[in-house]
């Protein structure tokens, strides 16, 4: 039975599932990476995802327009980000706790809106699979990498884009400066507040897309609390990735691939108790970090409100 795991079908299955499962994590965790790089810890990702997820679903359900749905999710995420930015940047509120507040708000609000506007679980036609010509015909690889929906491709394209913005642009330099040494950045004329506003709103927008990727691309359904802790995992993956988009990609893929592996382990009837199998991605994520002892340190000003010395 264990040798079954090595069959081509299974390997393709694991990879294809893993790539899909990683999609929402990627959007949310890369958004969070921008925030943390600029010194803001946002624990409210889960709430932003849920509200984005509902907004995308509802608008698509009513108008039939997927892109409008996606746009609404981005807008809702951005608004949540804006509120979070006001609270943490202007009011200097403790970031972790504010995040928990926004998580609860998003969790409750998405549920409340769902109940008053929808009332029952419905389905929609989500983003269709886009088969990339020629590439999708390659046996195995084509199915895994080139027959997914638009939001899945988007998530993976985001990784190099985020890397580029963070490392090769002035904006990225400002973000990193604000996260490492806000006082110095400030004295050089960089507006710490403006940069943080930008990263938090960007993070919210991406969390909104993460939610939308579930409700209008991967699952095509909305249900209360359906992100089921993914927003928290996304925050954890930022640490796994040591604040680098590529690292985040690695973490999201590792977690998701092990998760699809455990699904296969159960399907193939390998005699491991189901609960123990479900534990695997969580355990392995920790173990991999232990094995690769990272020496990367957090942005110095992370979770530290910036107050200008007057």
């Amino acid at each position: 039975m264990i040798s079954d795991l090595l069959s081509v079908t299974v390997l393709i299955g694991i990879l294809a599932s893993g790539i899909r499962l990683a999609t929402p994590y990627l959007y949310a965790a890369i958004g969070e990476t921008f925030g943390q790089k600029s010194g803001v810890l946002n624990l409210g990702v889960e709430g932003q995802m849920l509200l984005g997820s509902f907004a995308a679903f509802y608008v698509t359900f009513k108008t039939g327009n997927l892109w409008l749905g996606l746009l609404t999710a981005m807008l809702v995420g951005a608004l949540m980000g804006l509120a979070m930015a006001y609270v943490t940047v202007n009011l200097h509120a403790q970031q972790g706790i504010s995040g928990i507040g926004f998580y609860l708000f998003g969790l409750g609000m998405s549920e409340l809106l769902f109940q008053s506007l929808m009332g029952s679980v419905e389905t929609i036609q989500g983003f269709p699979k886009v088969h990339i010509p020629f590439l999708s015909d390659i046996p195995g690889i084509g199915e895994i990498f080139f027959s997914q929906n638009a939001l899945v491709y988007g998530a993976y394209l985001l990784v190099p884009l985020a890397w580029f913005v963070l490392n090769k642009t002035t904006l990225g330099l400002k973000i990193r400066a604000v996260g490492e040494n806000p006082d110095a950045a400030d004295s050089l004329g960089v507006s710490v507040a403006r940069v943080r506003y930008f990263t938090i709103i960007l993070g919210g927008t991406l969390s909104g897309i993460a939610g939308a990727s579930l409700s209008i691309a991967l699952l095509n359904v909305f249900q209360q609390g359906m992100t089921s802790g993914q927003g928290f995992i996304a925050v954890a993956l930022v640490y796994f990735g040591a604040w680098r988009p590529v690292g985040v990609l690695g973490g999201a893929l590792l977690f998701s691939l092990v998760n699809s592996l455990q699904l296969w382990i159960q399907v193939l009837g390998i005699p491991i108790p189901s609960d123990i199998a479900v534990m695997m991605p969580y355990v392995l994520t920790i173990l991999v970090l232990v094995a690769t002892v990272s020496r990367v340190r957090a942005p110095s000003a992370l979770s530290k409100p910036f107050e200008r010395e007057d």
Binding site: A16, V121, V221, Q266, L268, V278, M279
Partner: protein, 331 residues
């Protein structure tokens, strides 16, 4: 100036509060039957909680509307301790029947019920009334509907691989899954039933990916239990695999591929419980919803055309379970 403003608004608020309290003069209620129910998930979860909500709505209709039968509910009471507080509170408010719709509430009920000897309680799903005179218990023989679904699934499968998505491996879910497996294997002993417990009642995304995994493993018929399977149904539809539902009728989610759903009609047990309460018996009995007593109904999806042969086989199986000629052996 500001202080005065505060003072005035304080007085206004206070007087409003007082008048609101005073205004709640209780009008003499006509003798209507009042029920309160505490449920672990949302009333529209298309699964366990909805099955009870729908049943109460039906009962309300039967009994002549809200004037004759009133019910209130607390949904999403997944925190056992909060549920206990709710149960106690409803009992204090003098409801005729307080339903604890979740097996995890039993322990709390065991403690609360003796304090309210004049209130009737019901809890499920189990058969245990703790030997107390004011507790009814109800459960569903979900293996029966699972068996029927399994027989049909095996008949309709061409690949002879069938996938199951479950939450955690226990309780009602395990009962259904075991019955389903028995049904498949009784029909096609060589068929493969792959079971996946995803360890959560809420992880819709993982449930969907579990369905994808089953499909990749060759399954062309799927089933699943608990509220997170809405994610899996969509994946079955994409792959044009068939789906069998349980707990509530799930046809609306994917009209083309849902063949049938085992639906709990708790009103069958509730009707009996209510008439017993009206006659003065407040508990001590347990009810099992099954195919024979109509507490479980296999609801076929009218939009899915089931071949006459398969329909006949399903009816025969249902009949066989009802009259006892088919017995389901669980592991």
């Amino acid at each position: 100036m500001k202080k005065i403003y505060w003072l005035v608004s304080l007085i206004v608020v206070l007087s409003m509060v007082l008048s609101a309290c005073g205004g709640q003069a209780t009008q003499a209620p006509e003798k209507k039957f009042r029920v309160a129910v505490v449920m672990p998930s949302a009333i529209n979860d298309l699964a366990f909680s909805q099955s009870m909500y729908d049943a109460l709505v039906r009962i309300q209709k039967e009994m002549g509307g809200p004037d004759k039968f009133e019910f209130v509910y607390s949904e999403n009471m997944f925190v056992v301790d909060d549920a206990a507080a709710a149960i106690r509170d409803y009992a204090t408010q003098g409801y005729d029947l307080v339903i604890a719709h979740g097996s995890q509430y039993g322990s709390s009920l065991q403690e609360i019920a003796p304090d309210f000897p004049k209130t009737s309680f019901a809890w499920g799903t189990t058969a245990d009334t703790f030997g107390q005179p004011n507790i009814f218990a109800y459960e569903a023989a979900s293996q029966e509907g699972g068996y029927v679904n399994g027989v049909l699934a095996a008949t309709l499968s061409t690949s002879d691989v069938i996938g199951v998505v479950g939450p955690i491996e226990t309780g009602d879910a395990k009962l259904y899954v075991d019955g389903f497996k028995a049904g498949v294997l009784a029909t096609k002993p060589n068929a493969t039933v792959n079971v996946n417990y995803i360890g959560s009642f809420s992880d819709t995304a993982l449930a969907a990916e579990a369905a994808n995994t089953h499909i990749a493993a060759g399954a062309d018929v799927l089933t699943g239990t608990a509220q997170m399977v809405v994610g899996a149904i969509g994946k079955a539809q994409e792959a044009n695999a068939l789906w069998f539902g349980t707990q509530s009728n799930q046809s609306s989610l994917a009209p083309k591929i849902v063949v049938a759903s085992q639906v709990y009609h708790w009103e069958v047990a509730l009707r009996e419980i209510i008439s017993l309460i009206k006659a003065g018996t407040l508990g001590g009995k347990s009810f099992t919803a099954n195919l024979a007593n109509g507490g479980e109904v296999i609801e076929f999806n009218p939009d899915y055309t089931l071949s006459a042969d398969a329909k006949a086989l399903a009816d025969k199986t249902i009949q066989g379970i009802k009259d006892g000629s088919i017995t389901i052996t669980l592991p």
